[in-house]
Symmetry: C2
Subunit: 274 residues, 2 copies
């Protein structure tokens, strides 16, 4: 692993690093924020998965989570949203290929050799983070939009490995949305039964989740019809899933929405991780 | 004035707007954050002047001031750092011309027709903001790097118009620095007596300031030799100027430094403006 940059921030360290990824078959860049408490002891980790077109950098610079993480003593990991590079498959559309990994393990060419973001996030990068930084085994996960989809599906499928779960404006029902059907078809093929394990609404209906879940969604989000919050919110209610689904008046899909509720989400994770 | 974008943020409104500027002879873009309190009453204003290469956007997305402004009930105005456009003079260097107005009124060609940023910030944009938004007559000013230079020089020269003053890693002695001599010479000509009114160290030695001043400076700032914090800090001490000069261990020149201390600065202004 090679450190690309390090900046002091809120008494802690904002680090960007690069490493050769076996899962993705290319170099991957990620960011990690270590709060001041990490100088003294191992701290819990909050994973923040980003949305379409983002890299590790967007939420790191615009999400405003670090101030809250410093107060509560959480590390934050910001993975990239896909494998990248000239040798990695891509598509001209913003919502397929590089920048749009959807946190799945692709089984179809040309994506299969690199697009293994599910394994990358849950296993490879997690292992690297745990070996490299002063963190403990308590991990929470959140994300925005496509990253909210990643957070929900990953946590619901791995309840033993994540102790807290929230999401900002997540894609919740990709098997029924244009933000999902195209990508799941490309990455996994046309057999829709293979898609179900990457659909948060289907997963929560089948499995529920051990903890309570916090979802924030802007009521003026320009992508509401693609995110389909009603699917997940109905599934939570049908399942009697503990948690909160908050429809926030006036907020759109931008980082102005994410930063506004970043404090609530970090506090939510801190309460459950520390 | 034309609204370019508006996003809900921390219960308030993050607005970007464009207007034809008489002072600058071109269209100018600026941002204003209105806190939730502005729905009910006129609120005080904090001006944030940005540094070299920045537009209105950098601090708006990365500075993290809005959360604190929402808590304290302050509006924030983020002006651009220079006139812009194809008809506006420019230079290939990052530190002269567009993106590098240095908050002066240029008296030399080719800069004179457009580079009137001192008048633009102190008079024209202020008037527009006061006519357009629910703000009152209590204004504070801060800024980063070249913008810290702008904040210090503008407030010291206009104590009747600004009630509070802070700066992040300001250029403090441009008449003696490579961040200053080149630009003051280009914009104002070779007669150095004309430069003195744009040098915070010379101004504070001559005039002092009516209030107390807060300066934060990163001890690991990569531009310390150009900023010359020792000049202003010594001048404050010689003048017995009330205030605080804080040298912050480990911090560099980036927005990770600005965002870390944004809460302190906004609180400082709020205490003096509300």
């Amino acid at each position: 692993m090679e450190v690309v940059s390090e900046n002091r921030n809120f008494g802690g360290r904002q680090i960007v690093a690069k490493h050769p990824s076996e899962a993705c078959g290319c170099d991957m860049t990620f960011a990690v924020y270590l709060p001041p408490q990490a100088e003294e002891r191992a701290v819990p980790v909050l994973w923040y998965l980003s949305g379409l077109t983002c890299t590790h950098e967007n939420a790191m610079t615009k999400g405003g989570l670090q101030e809250h993480a410093a107060r509560h003593g959480l590390a934050i990991v910001y993975p990239d949203t896909s494998p990248r590079g000239e040798t990695v498959a891509n598509d001209e559309a913003y919502d397929l290929g590089q920048g749009a990994g959807f946190y799945v393990n692709a089984s179809c060419d040309p994506w299969k050799p690199n697009f293994q973001m599910y394994d990358y996030v849950t296993t490879e990068l997690r292992g690297l983070v745990e070996r490299t930084f002063p963190v403990n085994e308590r991990h929470g996960i959140t994300g925005h939009s496509m990253g909210g989809h990643g957070a929900l599906t990953i946590a619901i499928r791995n309840p033993d490995r994540y102790q807290s779960l929230t999401a900002f404006a997540p894609i919740t029902n990709p098997t029924r949305s244009d933000w999902g059907r195209k990508q799941l078809s490309a990455y996994l093929g046309d057999d829709e039964t293979a898609w179900a394990k990457y659909d948060a609404t289907l997963l929560i209906e089948e499995h529920g989740w051990k903890g309570d879940i916090l979802i924030d969604q802007g009521a003026s989000d320009q992508f509401l019809n693609l995110l389909m919050p009603e699917s997940f919110s109905a599934a939570m209610a049908r399942r009697r899933q503990p948690g909160q689904f908050r429809m926030q008046r006036g907020y759109d899909h931008s980082y102005y929405f994410v930063s506004t509720f970043a404090g609530d989400h970090v506090a939510w994770h801190a309460e459950r991780l520390t």
